[in-house]
Symmetry: C2
Subunit: 243 residues, 2 copies
């Protein structure tokens, strides 16, 4: 069977690297799978896993700042350009690694990957590829959160061009768990200038991303890992990759 | 009349700072308005305008890296925390500045502001506040671009909680202008796993953000500035701020 590629994507601080590491270890331990770790984040200092491919062997943000005399923003934009131009080379090398499951950890700032090279990497890496879009679960508790979670999930899926699973991570930190479930299940109704939006839009979004398809995970406790694997597997079957 | 606050938001490299500067100068020159410039980006090195308020007087990414021994990602996350905690203080100081129009330039990486402090700043700054969400116009020409532009515009508007104008910037760099207009006007139809999405979703999104409401601008040539001002003014009237 062809390799399974899992691309972990999400905003800064949503727990991508921790998830990459914990879920990889879970796949090894629970399912005896052969995993490979890919780090595509040129801005990280430490990683909770030992990468089999590491973008930092090519360039790092700190190095770009030092060597090219750039500020943090300049270095980040330069990293985007480098990322974009080097994706074919990276994909080739990742493909050479083999492995049963490859876990791809992406840049701390989601924009870097989503708008520069991410969709191309998804296309070029061989095997069946799923995007796991991590959001901080507390986002749901904030204003228009449940609508936003769906809009962002759809946006990322469309942009990446591959099956995308929306994941509310750091669920272990949520105390108001029932409130989160309630907010996810019903469309958010707003007031003021946004009220016309939230009614029918949320209703429609529920058709595309029903609450049951939004996973809740904790990279710390391992909550939701079994469901995450099942959903990945189910997606793969639905796409005909396992027939 | 109360102050008008314009918050310029967008992904790295979409032209926020240049737009802040050019549109501010246009408002001064064409409409004789009194403008104030607010820089909320702790990661920039140079600015094309002279800021009246500058977050870099409080902290910068480079300084956080040096002083706290952080890597680029760590410094960015620390900046998010600082931003979030200091927004009330910043808003107070910005309110004290007065001014007829205040142009607020935001962090290079959109996520920093959108998920950390942005919505609170929109609430705390006094006067009528509009978010101008800049995207690189070439996004429309890419896969599922026209649907994505609407999804992102809606997401940002919901998150910021204020009227949000979607803007395709750097329109001067687009050669296939007719193609862009055509793609904006009709829903995008995809193939494969995403085909079920794009049909009815795009149709619905057109109701919320019709093509006419998506501005096309160039901060270099000034194209679209008049339309941008008219739309801001119209939004203000619709919200009852000018009655």
């Amino acid at each position: 069977m062809s390799a399974l590629n899992l691309i972990f994507l999400g905003t800064a601080g949503c727990g991508k690297s921790t998830m990459t590491s914990s879920f990889g270890k879970w796949l090894e331990k629970e399912l005896g799978m052969k995993t490979l770790y890919v780090n595509l984040d040129p801005g990280c200092e430490q990683l909770p896993y030992q990468p089999d491919f590491d973008v930092r062997n090519y360039f790092t943000i700190t190095e770009l700042m030092r060597r090219e005399g750039l500020g943090p923003n300049g270095a980040m934009i330069r990293a985007c350009e480098l990322m974009e131009s080097k994706i074919p080379e990276f994909a080739l090398e990742i493909n050479r690694l083999g492995g049963e499951v490859r876990l791809l950890d992406t840049p701390g700032q989601m924009e870097v990957f989503l708008f520069h090279g991410g969709p191309e990497m998804a296309k070029l890496v061989e095997g069946f590829t799923v995007c796991l879009f991590l959001m901080d679960a507390k986002l749901v508790l904030q204003s228009f959160g449940s609508t936003l979670v769906r809009l962002l999930g759809l946006s990322v899926g469309l942009r990446m061009g591959i099956p995308t699973v929306s994941i509310l991570n750091k669920i272990d930190l949520i105390e108001r768990r029932e409130e989160l479930e309630r907010l996810l299940a019903v469309p958010a109704f707003g007031t003021g200038v946004l009220s016309d939006l939230t009614g029918s839009l949320s209703q429609l979004l529920l058709q595309f991303l029903p609450p049951a398809r939004i996973l809740k995970t904790s990279a710390i406790s391992g909550e939701g890992f079994k469901e995450m694997y099942d959903l990945i597997h189910e997606t793969r079957c639905a796409c005909g990759d396992l027939t």
